[in-house]
């Protein structure tokens, strides 16, 4: 079997989607291979979040095909292997952080993962008060809990939408280290953000989106070599588009 095909974790081909009659993304195509950390870059309204929603089956694509972990449709079986941290979501407010992670671990038990041990490790690592109700959490703590649940159960694919929003600088540094560790262990990460300096340090590849379309896809190394930095590459590509 072709090695490059077996390594493909996620593939979007010519995907278009609408919100009502408004076209949100048009002919979006990109691919993620095993162990890649890909940054989805774009200005506000470029179609980053919509692309993530389409690939996770939250929005029906009008055209195109999506393949995730060898499956063509998002199913409950597939979600056992995916961790997702949405941009603004609030976990159920009547639960404590520990209760929420224990609840999720019942569904997302990965192989050889001791969920109790992992939950306690996550609660400490993400600096969460385990027995405090989410209702009483600050915005930053809620954000950390959302990120913690995305990493729970050692998923094969982690999708992060603007993960740095609301995080303090220390947590941003810690998160960068965690992402690098997961990448070394072979986890594929799709990372949507508009903080380009952070993406440059975290990601191996970048997909630049503008007005609902992918306008460029390359490795971060190449972009830095060619333009000096991801920020400059982004400006140049947006300017040319």
């Amino acid at each position: 079997m072709n090695q490059s095909l077996t390594d493909t974790v996620l593939k979007l081909t010519n995907v278009s989607a609408y919100y009502g009659f408004t076209k949100a993304i048009e002919s979006v195509s990109f691919e993620l291979k095993k162990g890649q950390v890909v940054g989805l870059i774009g200005a506000n309204g470029a179609g980053k979040t919509t692309s993530l929603k389409v690939l996770l089956g939250m929005l029906k694509p009008a055209t195109g095909t999506i393949s995730i972990l060898g499956m063509s449709r998002c199913s409950s079986r597939l979600f056992k292997r995916i961790g997702f941290a949405p941009e603004d979501a609030t976990p159920p407010e009547y639960l404590t952080a520990r209760e929420y992670l224990v609840f999720l671990s019942k569904f997302r038990k990965g192989e050889n993962i001791n969920s109790v041990q992992q939950i306690e490790e996550f609660l400490t690592w993400f600096e969460l008060d385990p027995d405090k109700l989410v209702r009483k959490y600050s915005k930053g703590m809620r954000r950390r809990l959302i990120l913690a649940q995305a990493f729970l159960g050692k998923p094969d694919l982690i999708v992060l939408d603007e993960p740095l929003n609301g995080l303090d600088p220390m947590m941003i540094l810690k998160l960068r280290d965690r992402l690098k560790l997961y990448q070394k262990q072979g986890t594929t990460i799709l990372y949507s953000s508009h903080i380009l300096t952070e993406l440059e340090q975290t990601c191996s590849d970048a997909v630049i989106m503008h007005r609902g379309s992918v306008i460029h896809q390359d490795s971060v190394e190449n972009l830095v070599k060619q333009f000096g930095s991801v920020e400059k590459a982004f400006s140049a590509k947006i300017g040319a588009a």
Partner: protein, 269 residues
């Protein structure tokens, strides 16, 4: 599914819904039954003293009012909680089949309705004495049948309100739901009169009206059926089947709606 159901039960407990149901239901049942039992009614010099038999019938209707309130609150506010706004994205990626959600909500609402029915039963004992349960006039059969029938109908109502809440928002659902119940009751009454017309034919306006009405959830017939059951009589299997079919239809629509959470209404109103 078990984990999801337990999680819903925890939500019901932590939101104080159970405490409120117990307090509200006890207050309404006890005060209603106490008021009715031994009440003396005088109409045109005919004096009637309401006894336990009348109190039971009234108790059934008091219970219907509290059960309707519980199912409405659960349907409009509690069932859609995990599927509204940005939280719906987290719920969507839960590795659990979407079919389990309406089933879990149905079970949770069913538990609340059972609490309400147990309170009705206890209230009979508190007001008329606990030996009343073993007396000949206590209608065990009609009580069980009425509660089962009512639970099925209220499950349909609860899930319809939850679905509507996701489509048009919670405030709109309250008014839309109340208006629909009112309109369906009126249509039900018309349908009863039309079908009794000796000149009734399917190929007239009245005939067409009855034909379409009979395919809708029999909300207009609900009070008629409830009344029959509370008197110990039976209801038509046609209506029972129709309620069951509509429960399946609403379940299916609910699953379709939560399948694509990006289209769900996120804000209030």
């Amino acid at each position: 599914m078990w984990a999801l159901f337990l999680e819903n039960c925890r939500y019901v407990l932590r939101s104080k819904m159970v405490v409120l149901v117990i307090l509200f239901s006890t207050l309404v049942h006890l005060s209603g039954l106490k008021l009715i039992n031994h009440l003396t009614v005088s109409i045109q010099e005919v004096v009637t003293v309401m006894g336990p038999k009348e109190a039971i019938r009234v108790g059934f209707y008091i219970q219907l009012f509290t059960a309707l309130s519980i199912a409405s609150v659960y349907g409009v506010w509690m069932a859609p909680y995990a599927h509204r706004g940005e939280r719906s994205l987290l719920t969507h990626v839960l590795p659990v089949s979407k079919v389990y959600f309406p089933l879990c909500y149905g079970l949770c609402c069913g538990l609340l309705l059972i609490i309400n029915e147990v309170i009705l039963l206890m209230s009979f004992g508190w007001v008329m004495g606990f030996s009343f349960y073993s007396s000949d006039i206590f209608p065990w059969g009609s009580l069980i049948k009425t509660c089962m029938f009512q639970t099925l109908c209220l499950e349909v109502l609860m899930l319809s309100l939850a679905l509507s809440s996701l489509v048009v928002g919670q405030i709109n659902t309250v008014f839309l739901g109340a208006t629909s119940l009112f309109v369906m009751q009126i249509l039900g009454t018309f349908s009863h009169f039309f079908s009794k017309d000796p000149k009734f034919s399917l190929f007239t306006f009245k005939g067409l009206f009855v034909f379409v009405y009979e395919k809708l959830p029999p909300i207009g017939d609900f009070i008629f059926d409830f009344n029959l059951l509370s008197k110990g009589e039976s209801v038509s299997f046609e209506n029972l089947g129709l309620w069951l079919i509509w429960w399946l239809i609403i379940c299916f629509l609910f699953v379709i709606k939560i399948r694509y959470p990006s289209n769900i209404r996120g804000s209030e109103g």
